[in-house]
Amino acid sequence: MASENITASEYIGHHLQNLTFGHLPERGWTLAHDAKEAAEMGFWAIHLDSMFFSVVLGAVFLYIFRKAATSVSSGVPGCLQNFVEILVEFVDKSVKETFHGRNPLIAPLALTIFCWIFLMNLMDLLPVDLLPRIAGEMGVHFLKVVPTTDPNVTLGMSLSVFALIIYYSIKVKGVGGFLGELTLHPFGKWMLPFNLLLEGVGLIAKPISLALRLFGNLYAGELIFILIALMYTAGAVVGTLGGVLQLGWAIFHILVIVLQAFIFMMLTIVYLSMAHEDNH
């Protein structure tokens, strides 16, 4: 809850500030105390909260799946194995429908993306003040719980996917084939600069749209949760209304969470499938 002594905009700003660790000219390597300091740290700073939650959630995902994988049997599956198998089959089916080449990386990549992003998105359903308040009691002043509301996180993943797209494009089609695809389509070699512009924008747009779609959806969702949380300070009636709104938005958000994880996964598969296909 917002305390009485800070304004609404301070409350929102506080919630949208990552715990940033970086180098400041006057104080050396340290944690940023406010948004201005965090901005001053430049590129070589790191959001400890985003990294912490994303790594922990990724580890949770891998721990559960590894546990199921070590005790896996082809007989009657247990609860955990059933659950894991459903996800694996679902991802495998999605990959097989879209991606027609043979590549042992794609399916595990898709599974990791789906489960990891889903878990990171799921943090959005925790009450907005719960973890930041606990962290505040422990002396950590900024905490952004949902890693996917940090564009660094989404861009980090989408740029990795982008690197894979470039890698497989060159591996499958050769450097010449890849450059040819960029420059000789769709208008033939006499329109080379125009083609390059068109295809280049299309190529660059892939990771940017991938990252920003996820970030935008989750950031907006988080922001609305914060705004609804503000209503709790405005008296009993508005507070009750806020509770109802919070519940409704959370239920709706369950859909968004799964959908965004699924979209990121599907688009990754589609992009990599396009990278493997020779005919343009």
């Binding site: 949208l16 990552n18 940033t20 970086g22 965090a38 901005a39 740290m41 430049g42 590129f43 070589w44 700073a45 790191i46 959001h47 985003s50 990294m51 994303s54 790594v55 990724g58 995902f61 891998l62 799946f65 590894r66 199921a68 994988a69 070590t70 896996v72 049997s73 082809s74 007989g75 599956p77 194995q81 894991v84 198998e85 694996v88 089959e89 495998d92 042992p104 990386l105 399916a107 595990p108 990549l109 599974l111 990791t112 990891w116 890693p147 940090d150 564009p151 660094n152 996180v153 861009l155 980090g156 993943m157 740029l159 990795s160």
Partner: protein
């Protein structure tokens, strides 16, 4: 909302997680899935085979049943025929035996009658002689008249 090294950290974490998933999670699970699929396919196959076997066995059992019924009917028919034959034979035998017995009895009776006749004849001869002796009052020489007496007895 600054772009910073978090991006790189996230990319590294992403790569590590994907590699881990690819090496240690995906293969065992998909292998188990494939194995189970194979097991189920095998099981269905076996069930199909067993069903076919059962059908064959049922068909052969019905066949055997039918043929044994036929055989039984044939045997019963033969037995009936044979029984009739035996009865017929027995009848014939009995009849023949009866005839034989009858003939034997008749022959015996005839013999008895003849014997009685013979005896009677003898006695008549003796009586005739005695009568004649009395009538003639003299003894008849049995030796001299035996030819006459036996002739007489034969005529009686």
């Amino acid at each position: 909302m600054n772009l910073n090294a978090t991006l790189i950290g996230q990319a590294i974490a992403f790569a590590v997680f994907v590699l881990f998933c690819m090496k240690y999670v995906w293969p065992p699970v998909t292998a188990a899935l494939a194995e189970r699929q194979k097991k189920i396919a095998d099981g269905l196959d076996a069930a199909d085979r067993a069903k076919r076997d059962l059908e064959l066995a049922q068909a052969s059992a019905a066949d055997q049943l039918r043929s044994s019924k036929e055989q039984a009917a044939k045997i019963i028919e033969q037995a009936n025929k044979r029984a009739n034959q035996i009865v017929e034979e027995a009848k014939e035998q009995a009849m023949a035996e009866g005839q034989r017995l009858k003939a034997a009895a008749q022959a015996e009776i005839e013999q008895d009658v003849n014997r009685a006749k013979e005896a009677l004849r003898g006695q008549v001869a003796v009586l005739a002689l005695a009568g004649a002796e009395k009538i003639l009052g003299a003894s008849v020489d049995e030796k001299a008249h035996s030819e006459l007496v036996s002739k007489l007895a034969a005529e009686l």
